[in-house]
């Protein structure tokens, strides 16, 4: 063999090795990468801690301060204690009809928070038309927590009661299910738990009228202004779920209402936007104020787009009367 051939052979051999090696590497890497691409198992965080860089440069870890509790006691009250209101508060809600587009997120948020069946709505959204010439608008309506509540007056056992913080609650442990309050409410704010559900429990020690969970069958339920969330300084489920910020909630005594993004002075807001109460002439003194649907952000038809044909029919028929 001459050197030329030897070199050729070496080159050939090296090339072959290189090719084989590259191929092997390719196959190897691909399989490795394929394994790496599997989702990694997540580890649950054990405790909420936060790192603090001290003055001298050392880093220590401390427990994250839990500032959830704004009003003591923070746990939802039960029994007799639930009949006393949160001291010094007078809750009020303002709904801006110019913003509501029937997203129904308020309804869903409330249902999730209160363990409701999908067809039970403590907050309802109606399509209203004030007179033949006016434009229809979406009307979210929950319980108005009236200052002169027709429902509280007629309860024979005192299962529904008005507190000093303006909230009207239902004690499902005492309710006998006579449904007098449901018929007495002119705003159709109350519902009845007709069907039984597995998560329902009667006379449970965990039950609090402030949360209305665990729910019970065959008793009355309604919007409760979420006083358990107020104790933590959180807005009710509906107000915090609304994507348009249409629901403002706050304390009349503090003269401040907020929708989570902007905070306004309550009296000023009602004065400037000419807030009104629904069916004021009935004399119930509701605590939910509405801001008229002027300068709408979008036409009301936008709210019809996600609805079924059946529902659209019913809504349009209802406003044509």
């Amino acid at each position: 063999m001459n050197t030329h051939d030897k070199n050729d052979n070496r080159r050939k051999f090296l090339k072959n090795v290189f090719t084989a090696g590259a191929g092997a590497l390719a196959v190897g890497t691909s399989t490795l990468l394929a394994q790496v691409n599997e989702p990694q198992k997540t580890t649950k965080p054990v405790k909420e801690k936060i790192k603090v860089l001290t003055t001298d440069g050392t880093v220590i870890e401390v427990d994250k301060p839990d500032n959830n509790c704004k009003i003591n006691p923070c746990t939802p009250q039960k029994g007799i204690e639930a009949r006393k209101g949160i001291p010094g508060r007078s809750f009020v809600m303002v709904i801006d009809l110019a913003r509501c587009k029937n997203a129904r997120k308020c309804i869903e948020g409330c249902q999730k928070g209160h363990d409701l069946l999908p067809d039970q709505e403590l907050m309802k959204v109606y399509l209203m038309k004030d007179n033949p010439e006016s434009e229809p608008y979406w009307f979210p309506k929950n319980c108005f927590h009236c200052d002169n509540p027709p429902c509280v007056k007629v309860c024979p056992v005192g299962a529904t009661f008005k507190r000093t913080d303006n909230v009207v609650l239902v004690d499902a442990d005492r309710c006998i299910g006579c449904k007098f309050c449901v018929s007495a409410c002119p705003y159709s704010a109350r519902i009845f738990n007709w069907a039984d559900k597995e998560s329902y429990a009667s006379n449970s020690p965990d039950y609090s009228p402030e949360t209305q969970t665990p729910s019970q069958h065959s008793v009355v339920s309604k919007c409760d202004f979420c006083p358990d969330r107020a104790r933590e300084g959180k807005l009710p489920y509906c107000a915090s779920s609304c994507p348009m910020g249409a629901i403002y909630f706050g304390d009349k005594n503090e003269d401040a209402v907020t929708n989570g993004e902007e905070t306004l002075r309550f009296k000023q807001l009602i004065k400037e936007r000419v807030g009104y109460r629904y069916l004021e002439e009935l004399g119930t003194d509701p605590n939910v104020y509405y801001l008229p649907a002027t300068n709408r952000m979008f036409p009301y038809e936008r709210g019809l787009s996600d609805l079924s044909e059946e529902k659209k029919d019913i809504l349009l028929k209802s406003i044509s009367k």
């Binding site: 050939k12 590259a22 890497t29 691409n37 790192k51 509540p149 107020a230 300084g233 907020t258 002075r265």
Partner: protein, 291 residues
């Protein structure tokens, strides 16, 4: 020979391409892009807080990266001084609190720089982010001048030797803490002396003894970040915290007195006569003649 070598090189190239193709085919996605967001804020007790969010994905699929290690460093001229490493939670968030008296190195313009770095992993790219801030201090004084409540805020920078430099043109939002949020009353701007004043209204509600928590906030300033200061002062109106209502009403726990009295009168009237009738009949039994 020549054809042999040509064939060899072709084979090599083809193999390389195949392997590359295999690699890219099997690993269809590239390393995902990540984004770091950093926020600087100064808390009410003068501690500073750096909040970091590490996100991956694009558009509507943005999610936080869980359990990622973020290394925080501060930059001192050319050196990088490692502060600490943090781990993100399930939402990709993490934070570091820096005590008030910790001294950050300052560059020529007076900025302190903090850099957050994520080294990436096998599927995610690395990311880096820096924020610059100058430590601004706020001093609040509350006085009553001619029976007018005044809030005076003094904004200043403190340099390394301790001189105070007033800052002009800082926009401050002043509000009161409410149960669910903060109600901002006004926005003021500091003057050349670094002082901004606001008249505090008389009709702000306080708690049961009239205390309010005044919040002074600078929102996301380019240089100074977000600064919050809170002061408790007895400038609010007093709210009645009594939870017992002794009012008698139709909807209350206790019925109106006239109702109770009427019911008692009617019922006792009827039952009194009823009992008389019963006694009369009982007497009949007594009059029975025994045969």
């Amino acid at each position: 020979m020549k054809t042999n070598s040509l064939l060899n090189s072709v084979t090599l190239i083809v193999c390389l391409i195949c392997s590359l193709a295999t690699v890219t085919n099997v690993v269809a996605q590239k390393k995902g892009s990540t984004r770091l967001k950093m926020y600087y804020e100064k808390l009410a007790n003068n501690d500073k807080k750096i909040s970091i969010i590490l996100n991956k994905g694009k558009g509507l699929d943005i999610t936080g990266v869980e359990n990622a290690e973020i290394i925080l460093q501060t930059i001192d001229k050319e050196d990088k001084l490692k502060l600490t490493s943090l781990k993100t939670n399930s939402n990709g968030e993490t934070a570091l609190i820096i005590e008030a008296n910790y001294v950050f190195p300052i560059d020529e313009e007076g900025f302190s720089i903090i850099e957050a770095k994520y080294n990436g992993n096998d599927s995610l790219k690395s990311a880096k982010k820096q924020i610059k801030f100058i430590d601004l201090s706020l001093e609040v004084s509350l006085d009553v001048v001619d029976s007018v409540k005044q809030v005076t805020v003094y904004a200043f920078e403190k340099d390394s030797i301790g001189t105070l430099k007033p800052i002009e043109g800082i926009k401050l939002s002043i509000g009161v803490k409410r149960l669910f949020s903060t109600l901002y009353l006004n926005q003021i701007e500091t003057n050349s002396k670094g002082i901004g004043t606001m008249e505090f209204p008389n009709d702000i509600a306080g708690d049961s003894i009239g205390n309010i928590t005044l919040i002074i906030k600078i929102n996301d300033h380019n240089d100074y970040g977000t600064i919050t200061k809170s002061v408790i002062k007895n400038w609010g109106t007093i709210i009645d915290y009594n939870t017992t209502t002794s009012e008698r009403s139709l909807f209350g726990d206790e019925a109106p007195m006239w109702m109770i009295i009427s019911v008692i009168i009617i019922l006792s009237g009827a039952w009194y006569h009823f009992i008389i009738a019963i006694f009369k009949v009982l007497k009949i039994k007594k009059l029975e003649l025994k045969a």
